[in-house]
């Protein structure tokens, strides 16, 4: 099937070339980081995780969001998702590869990363995160590939894929739950120390993932002859709407608990994010932008006239995607580390080099996504034609 990927239009090759260029520049800068250490980042003793882990966390959500097409299609026989299920699975594959790359980029000693396997440590949440992320990646590659291959040959997918598909559902929930557990089980970090963190992660994931999938559907429809179907997109937009409302609702639950109980160690972080603390407020405009975008997103999805407007919907999705990205990556990580456990305020601002390396990871993900989506779209065109 892979031979499909090497036959493409001029636009296809220009796009891949552009991605490869970004990857090459980022790789050169990563070599510098590899040689000189993480000193090239904006991270510090106080904010010891930054842009890499932030994007990792967000992309785990995008990967988990794929399950929002898998559940309706496979558990509820929702036929309209038949055509886009493969897109959700392939989006999960690309996102997970980006996640793993972000983790490696963040390690101080990447060549020792197999120590996690050589000395398995079940009491560390990072060990479990590695297990579920790799498990979910493996499941999606196998399922996506086998199902697409069967479609191409116009036969039923092998029966053994069914249990794997059912298994992938708890895995999708699992990857984001365990990723939340990385944060919410740490005793000294008031911002993360809340049971709502995992549900909130899932809610924002189910908003961000499907809204990105809607955008991808528009792109696929524009550049290929494959049409994912307007009904499927409409259903996705309803899923995004509910999930986004849940995300904002969970956030307000958190705000209530923190500010009604008035426990200083818990208030300080949210104050820092939205109002600034001791004169430091680098994230204040970002957080308000995020909140505004999410609220506009809700308004545009709740009102049927806006939601069903085909021209407006992609813009709504872009707003939601950016809003949830700021909320979960920038705010979630910096918010947890600032102020530090001794209540000092050290702010975090990523360096250009750090951002370019991150762009390289994203470019790699988009390259994989492009190739996989091209396979899917071409197979679907073939079958229809």
């Amino acid at each position: 099937m892979l031979e499909i990927a090497i036959k493409g239009s001029k636009k296809y090759w220009i796009w891949l070339g552009a991605l490869l260029t970004v990857m090459a520049v980022a790789f050169a800068l990563y070599i510098d980081q590899f040689m000189n250490g993480l000193m090239i980042t904006g991270m510090s003793r106080d904010v010891s995780w930054g842009f890499y882990i932030a994007n990792f966390t967000f992309l785990v959500g995008v990967a988990a969001g794929g399950v929002m097409v898998v559940i309706p299609y496979y558990l509820h026989d929702y036929e309209r998702f038949h055509r886009i299920t493969i897109l959700g699975e392939f989006l999960a594959v690309a996102s997970l590869i980006m996640c793993l790359m972000f983790i490696v980029a963040d390690l101080g000693q990447p060549i020792r990363m197999l120590n996690v396997l050589l000395y398995p440590t079940p009491n560390s949440m990072l060990f479990w995160d590695m297990c579920v992320l790799n498990g979910y990646l493996f499941l999606n590659i196998v399922i996506g590939w086998k199902v697409l291959e069967a479609e191409r040959n116009q036969v039923k997918p092998p029966a053994w894929t069914k249990p794997l598909i059912y298994l992938s559902i708890p895995f999708a929930i699992g990857i984001h739950t365990v990723t939340a557990y990385l944060y919410c089980g740490l005793p000294g970090r008031g911002f993360w120390l809340t049971a709502i963190l995992a549900p909130r992660f899932l809610a924002s994931a189910f908003a961000a993932g499907p809204s990105f999938l809607i955008l991808l559907c528009y792109i696929v429809r524009k550049f290929t002859k494959f049409d994912p179907g307007w009904e499927a997109i409409q259903t996705l937009s309803k899923i995004v709407c509910y999930a986004l409302i849940a995300n904002v609702f969970f956030f307000f639950c958190e705000v209530f608990v923190v500010f009604y109980s008035k426990i200083p160690g818990h208030m300080a972080h949210i104050k820092y994010l939205f109002f600034g603390l001791h004169g430091h407020g680098a994230l204040v405009p970002w957080m308000w932008t995020s909140m505004t975008l999410m609220f506009i997103g809700i308004a545009l999805l709740v009102v049927p006239a806006f939601r069903n407007n085909e021209t407006l919907l992609p813009f709504t999705c872009i707003m939601i995607f950016i809003g949830t990205w700021i909320d979960k990556s920038l705010g979630m990580i910096s918010g947890g580390f600032v102020p530090n456990p001794l209540h000092h305020v050290t702010e975090y601002i990523p360096t250009v080099q750090e951002i370019v390396i991150s762009l390289g990871v994203l470019a790699t993900g988009f390259l994989i996504l492009t190739v996989l989506f091209k396979l899917a779209a071409t197979v679907k065109e073939e079958v229809r034609g």
Partner: protein, 286 residues
């Protein structure tokens, strides 16, 4: 399982010890010799706790190491000499110095916020942020507080580490294997005391005087106070204790006869963020 094995081993070594004592008693052929041996080993209890390899006389051991800091004895001078003693004994880089241009050409400037600290000075309201009080006694407002790794009984960093590079020794010291650490910094997020530092860069250009008896860490690994485990092994007090002019005492928290226990019995002492249940082993006499 492990404990059983150790018990068995210590039993067999006890047997060996008694045999040796018996032989020497026979050789000398006198009862006072047996008495002398039992006195030297500190009575019956001490015999049963003899470790597998009989420690050299000078090794300092404890069931659970702990530290008591007498805040009334901490002055700016004490802080300075304590921090310097720790720095020099563990090859901790000082980002305030200019690297030797000849030895380390083209060294990129260091970022102060990426510095490495094992023991350092804080104000009361930073060391004990949850105990901030607007009517706090004046003397505490200006008093320098020394903070370091608490060698917690329930250490969150040990729980978080995905490779067991950070682990807890039987004697309570939370210590690191610098060669196993992958630099994921999960332990730094887990530590509620901000006691851990990451090697964002190669430390060498910023080490004032290299101590050949302690390893220099490579870039990309986390590090922190190790209670001078390497000095205790040689029968030396930790560097900070030596430099503290009596303000810092380390000893066995489980031994009711130890100096630290005597201090805790007589004085009101507090621990940092006790409400988290991490059970810090560092006490502050107020």
């Amino acid at each position: 399982m492990k404990n059983k094995r150790e018990n068995f081993l210590s039993k067999s070594s006890r047997r060996g010890f008694l045999k040796a004592a018996g032989i020497s008693a026979v050789a000398i052929g006198a009862a006072p010799a047996i008495k002398a041996v039992s006195i030297a080993s500190g009575g019956g209890d001490a015999v049963s706790s003899l470790p597998l390899t009989t420690p050299k006389a000078e090794v300092l051991t404890a069931k659970r190491w702990g530290m008591v800091i007498d805040t009334s004895k901490i002055t700016e001078e004490v802080v300075e000499s304590v921090v310097a003693a720790c720095r020099n004994s563990h090859n901790i880089p000082n980002f305030d110095i200019q690297p030797d241009e000849k030895k380390y050409p083209n060294t990129r400037p260091a970022k102060k916020m990426q510095e490495i600290k094992w023991i350092w000075e804080e104000h009361y309201h930073n060391a004990f942020p949850e105990m901030e009080d607007e009517f706090l006694a004046d003397k505490f407002k200006s008093l320098p507080f020394l903070v370091t790794c608490n060698h917690c009984k329930n250490a969150p960093c040990v729980q978080a580490c995905p490779t067991k590079a950070t682990f807890k020794r039987e004697d309570g010291i939370v210590i690191m294997d610098f060669h196993r650490c992958i630099g994921c910094r999960f332990c730094m997020a887990a530590c509620p005391y901000g006691s851990r530092s990451f090697n964002f860069r190669d430390a060498r250009p910023f080490i004032e005087k290299i101590n050949p008896e302690f390893p220099i860490r490579s870039k990309g690994v986390v590090e922190k106070c190790n209670l001078c485990a390497e000095r205790l092994e040689r029968g030396l007090q930790p560097a900070c204790v030596e430099a503290s002019e009596g303000a810092i005492v380390v000893g066995d928290l489980e031994d009711p006869e130890s100096e630290v226990r005597a201090l805790l019995k007589e004085n009101y002492a507090i621990r940092r963020k006790q409400e988290l249940g991490t059970e810090p082993s560092v006490y502050y006499i107020m």
